[in-house]
Symmetry: C2
Subunit: 194 residues, 2 copies
């Protein structure tokens, strides 16, 4: 019997594909083993088990999406950068739902610090650099932007916008417009809107 050629990378790749196809919950040592037509125990020679597999999918997704984000944001600023950021996350979620879900996997502090997570944060802040925000407003803005993007994408992915008109993309544009407007006028109105 020829060898299957398992490696951690190939296993994680397969796990990520499985997550996209069947959900993150379907990522198990047993399921990945089946994909390679191999006994479950064999998987344990290369990765630590089911939780480790999911953790690795999360790290892969963080890297992949940070790369996409970096490309998308290169040379853009303002409303343009905002749209690129949002669309990148949204498109990633729609084409890779399992990977996107994996982005919310809790990681221990050292792993998180060594991951592409900080790159996401930095890119988010870079988009906001195009707006003139001072002090705490910058943090509020990061959190607003993160909330809107993650909230919309995750509700859309969960089917929350099905069965209602108009097309979610229309709302998406309108919402990004609104966020852009907020970011533009935030400093001037100084947080206290009448």
């Amino acid at each position: 019997m020829p060898r299957a050629g398992l490696t951690p990378d190939r296993l994680v790749q397969a796990a990520a594909d499985l997550a996209d196809a069947q959900g993150l919950g379907a990522v198990t040592a047993a399921a990945v083993a089946r994909r390679f037509d191999v006994r479950t125990a064999s998987v344990y020679s290369h990765v630590g088990g089911t939780p480790d597999l999911r953790r690795r999918v999360a790290l892969l997704a963080l890297e992949e999406s940070a790369d996409l984000l970096g490309d998308a944001l290169a040379g853009r600023s303002g409303r343009d950068a905002l749209q690129a950021l949002g669309d990148t996350y949204r498109d990633y979620a729609r084409s890779h739902p399992g990977r996107y879900a994996a982005l919310r996997t809790p990681l221990d502090p050292e792993t998180a610090a060594a991951s592409a997570g900080p790159r996401h944060a930095a890119l988010l802040r870079a988009v906001l650099r195009g707006y003139d925000l001072e002090g705490d407003h910058q943090t509020h803005a990061v959190r607003l932007l993160g909330s809107v993007v993650h909230g919309f994408v995750s509700l859309e992915l969960g089917g929350g916008f099905d069965h209602s008109a108009p097309d979610p993309t229309e709302s998406w544009t309108a919402i990004l417009d609104a966020v852009h407007h907020t970011l533009t006028s935030w400093t001037t109105t100084d947080g206290a809107h009448p």
Copy 2:
């Protein structure tokens, strides 16, 4: 041996508490059986099994939170109602993380229609009635509000705002201010912000 006095309601209650304490993933037929010091098989006389248990926790959480929302919104409008809506979801998530997570459980159409889900939607729309939104803007606003609230709460719950100042509550207030401002000026600026 005296009987344990299992009922679907008591099982679901225990499952919900377990979800809050250990996460939705810890809700299993076996774990709930342990809570009542009963064999796993006994649980199956009252509920359908693990997926059914989680589905029921979702329905319980929808009812509970819709009740809280209804109470909180009674007699309020505008910025005030907005704050009440957001705080109710946020407080519910923080005091009942497992139940909050269960809110995102996918339900089949009939179950969803018979659940308190539509009540949530109606209450959201009621809050927006205080703002003067026309046509599609109303739907965009529902989606914006849902995205911001769910996004913020879920990022905060996932620890996304740990290890960074200032206090999330400050950002929360600033964000609700921003949303209020957006909703107030949306119709007048008609979606096309310069």
